[in-house]
């Protein structure tokens, strides 16, 4: 990590051109996560580009055994983002799908040309906290969020991308926040894509332990890097009328004194 000065949002004058990989889930169901990501990146002085040809990365298809159906989505992603210098995604699992899954998928379907294209574009995909802390070296993004918050590290950001404590570094620098540790944080929330419906009872059993841990922190909000896990955790909290919100990290980081007012 470089000196304290470079960690200040205001001190980073050199803006980058960032292609936003929004994910189909955030685009359709959680647009505020996307808007927050744009506001945040622009506030930090970067230019955001949104390639409108993007749809879905194909993770659900691939992880459910439908690699053949996912293959056109890999091609689509590569052509939509081929030129981008850096591709930022507010989802650990979708970023991991491109970085880890794409090459494997293209290879398993025997498309060597696509394997080569994927090898070009995949390393340029970064999850939001990776981009901020790892690439830009920023921890204090100038956010203000006067709430009690607990952080759930999602499995793919933790174990596939290995984002480490980057999200916590960002959260610790948020003004007004009361950040509380989540017990057994590194346990899966039980979402797992189609697992949540195919093995609904087991998924809910895992979720119920996660919710107990979230509630034990008396946090107002549970945050994470993935809209999918948050949809699952938030869906459980909402069903219980728990009075705790599931909030994407981008939304916390995008909040400022001005927006909170």
């Amino acid at each position: 990590m470089s000196g304290a000065g470079s960690r200040k949002a205001s001190s980073r004058s050199e803006g980058m051109r960032v292609a936003l990989f929004i994910t189909c889930l955030a685009d359709t169901l959680f647009p505020e996560t996307g808007r927050a990501t744009v506001r945040l990146l622009e506030r930090l002085g970067h230019e955001v580009d949104f390639p409108e040809e993007q749809t879905c990365c194909g993770q659900m298809h691939f992880n459910s055994g439908y690699a053949r159906e996912a293959l056109p989505l890999v091609r689509r992603f590569v052509s939509a983002f081929g030129d981008a210098e850096v591709i930022v995604c507010p989802s650990g699992s979708c970023a991991a799908m491109v970085r880890e899954g794409y090459e494997r998928l293209a290879a398993s379907e025997g498309d060597e040309a696509l394997v080569a294209e994927v090898a070009e574009v995949a390393p340029r995909v970064l999850e939001l906290s990776e981009f901020l802390v790892g690439r830009l070296g920023v921890e204090d993004v100038g956010a203000y969020y006067p709430h009690r918050v607990t952080y759930h590290p999602t499995c793919h950001s933790l174990r596939a991308l290995r984002v480490g404590d980057a999200p916590l570094r960002l959260l610790r620098a948020v003004r007004g926040i009361d950040l509380v540790a989540l017990p057994e944080a590194e346990e899966c929330c039980g979402f797992g894509g189609t697992f949540a419906v195919k093995n609904a009872d087991t998924s809910i059993a895992i979720l119920s332990d996660k919710l107990q841990n979230v509630l034990s922190t008396r946090a107002e909000a549970c945050t994470a890097l993935d809209s999918s896990c948050l949809m699952h955790i938030g869906g459980g909290l909402s069903r219980q009328r728990a009075g705790v919100r599931a909030v994407h990290l981008a939304e916390i980081l995008a909040s400022t004194e001005a927006s909170a007012a």
Binding site: N63, S64, V197
Partner: protein
């Protein structure tokens, strides 16, 4: 064993508070213990990589190492038998027991023998198998099934065990004190050890270079089985061979730390053929295939054969911790079972197991030989989907396949995708989803599509 789908098989365990508590407590405890002893080793990651590489090389030249092992065992005075499948292996073992006029065999815990249902086959041949591992004995006496690779009776508590021993062992008085329970079992087993003409064991490792077989255990009962009876039969899966004696240096560090969370297991038995006046005078090694060469033929699936049966993956698995082992309906439960069982028994038989995972990756992270379990799970899902698609009648009536294909069609085109987003917004809020999706709304509210998608906002700003 005829299997029911995993989601159905999991239900009784999920609804059993005592079981959930026992499993949660046991897996959390052993997980913490493992993490502690692993953290002590500065070269743990290098050890894992060494274990993985050794297994990979061994599997690549499995034929060579197995023949080396055979020659070395025979040179040391042992006999080697090759068993293509469970039937052949059972016939060999039962035949050897009968040849020696034995109506009883003392056994040290062996997963491979449970895989081939050896005890049942021996019973048919008029030979009684006596399990001597304490937990295995508990399972056998209560006519129960194992639920964990390392701790087969993890689902039982000591009050239940006291009641079982009072009913089945020759004891009049017994408390639920673990030491007293162990003593009752010890007295019972000691008689069996002294009686037995034939001992039986599995194998953790078989060294090709020297012909040495290695069994690791905690109780010492295994060593009784391998040293007291005049005849010893060992059943070993063909993937358990290691090339060199020095390779044990890696595995004997990886295994105990990963499985029991100990720096070293209490008993490590190593024997090479037979030795005059020391231990059994006759030794038979049965090498078991039973589907393993088919697993070896699958480029992605073959890493499953690197498994050293430590069970670390069970103890970190969020699914296993809630459902326990019985839901997997196999001697191999948990994440490793979810990839091994369908490959050994076939996807027709165990096609729901590769889906019994949230793909959280905790198993891969702790695996001492770096088996990428999530990768194999996804690979097997692909094979399961392909098998369903291969039958036109089944494929037509498959709602999941239809949904996946139509979603792929929508996502493959921007206009269709954007139209689908609009349609999602028009749909009213659903409290209960229909059909196969109803599991979502069983305990989770469904988000509603906001009036403006992200891309609509982007275009309008």
């Amino acid at each position: 064993m005829s299997r029911v789908p995993f989601p159905e098989a999991a239900r009784p365990a999920l609804a059993n508070p005592q079981l959930r508590r026992n499993l949660g407590h046991a897996t959390r405890t052993i997980r913490a213990k493992r993490a502690g002893v692993v953290a002590e080793l500065p070269d743990w990651e290098e050890l894992r990589e060494a274990g993985r590489a050794l297994k990979e090389r061994t599997l690549r030249h499995l034929d060579v190492y197995l023949e080396q092992l055979e020659a070395a065992v025979e040179a040391a005075g042992g006999h080697v038998h090759w068993a293509r499948d469970a039937d052949e292996a059972n016939r060999i073992v039962a035949g050897l027991a009968r040849d020696h006029g034995a109506d009883e065999v003392v056994k040290v815990k062996s997963l491979a023998s449970d895989e081939i249902e050896l005890n049942e086959a021996l019973a048919v041949a008029g030979v009684r198998a006596v399990e001597t591992d304490l937990a295995e004995l508990i399972i056998q006496l209560s006519d129960d099934r194992q639920s964990h690779i390392l701790v087969p009776a993890i689902h039982r508590n000591r009050a239940e065990i006291r009641e079982l021993f009072l009913r089945t062992l020759e004891v009049d008085e017994l408390s639920d004190d673990p030491a007293e329970l162990a003593e009752a079992a010890r007295l019972h087993l000691r008689r069996a050890f002294l009686r037995a003409r034939v001992g039986f064991s599995g194998a953790n490792f078989g060294v090709a270079e020297t012909g040495t077989v290695c069994v690791v255990e905690s109780e010492g009962n295994g060593r009784m089985c391998t040293t007291l009876p005049p005849v010893l039969i060992t059943l070993m899966g063909i993937e358990k061979v290691v090339p060199l004696w020095s390779d044990l240096e890696v595995f004997l560090q990886l295994l105990p730390r990963s499985s029991t969370g100990e720096r070293m297991n209490p008993y490590t038995s190593l024997w090479t053929g037979v030795a005059e006046g020391d231990g059994p005078s006759e030794f038979h090694l049965v090498l078991l295939d039973n589907g393993r060469t088919d697993v070896l033929a699958d480029e992605v699936g073959r890493q499953t054969l690197a498994c050293i049966r430590c069970s670390a993956c069970l103890n970190v698995c969020p699914v296993y911790a809630r459902t326990g082992g019985h839901a997997y309906q196999s001697i191999y439960p948990g994440p490793i079972g979810a990839i091994l069982t369908p490959q050994l028994a076939g996807l027709d038989e165990a096609g729901s197991l590769p889906y019994a995972s949230s793909l959280c990756g905790a198993c891969y992270e702790v695996c001492p030989v770096k088996i990428d379990i999530p990768q194999v799970l996804v690979h097997l899902r692909g094979k399961e989907v392909a098998a369903r698609a291969a039958s036109p009648a089944r494929a037509r009536l498959d709602p999941e396949r239809a949904a996946m294909r139509s979603m792929a069609w929508v996502f493959a085109d921007r206009t269709r995708y954007e139209r689908a987003q609009k349609a999602a917004r028009l749909g009213r809020r659903l409290d209960r989803l229909p059909g196969p999706l109803r599991g979502w709304t069983a305990a989770r509210d469904l988000p509603t599509a906001p009036p403006q998608s992200f891309r609509d906002w982007w275009r309008a700003r």
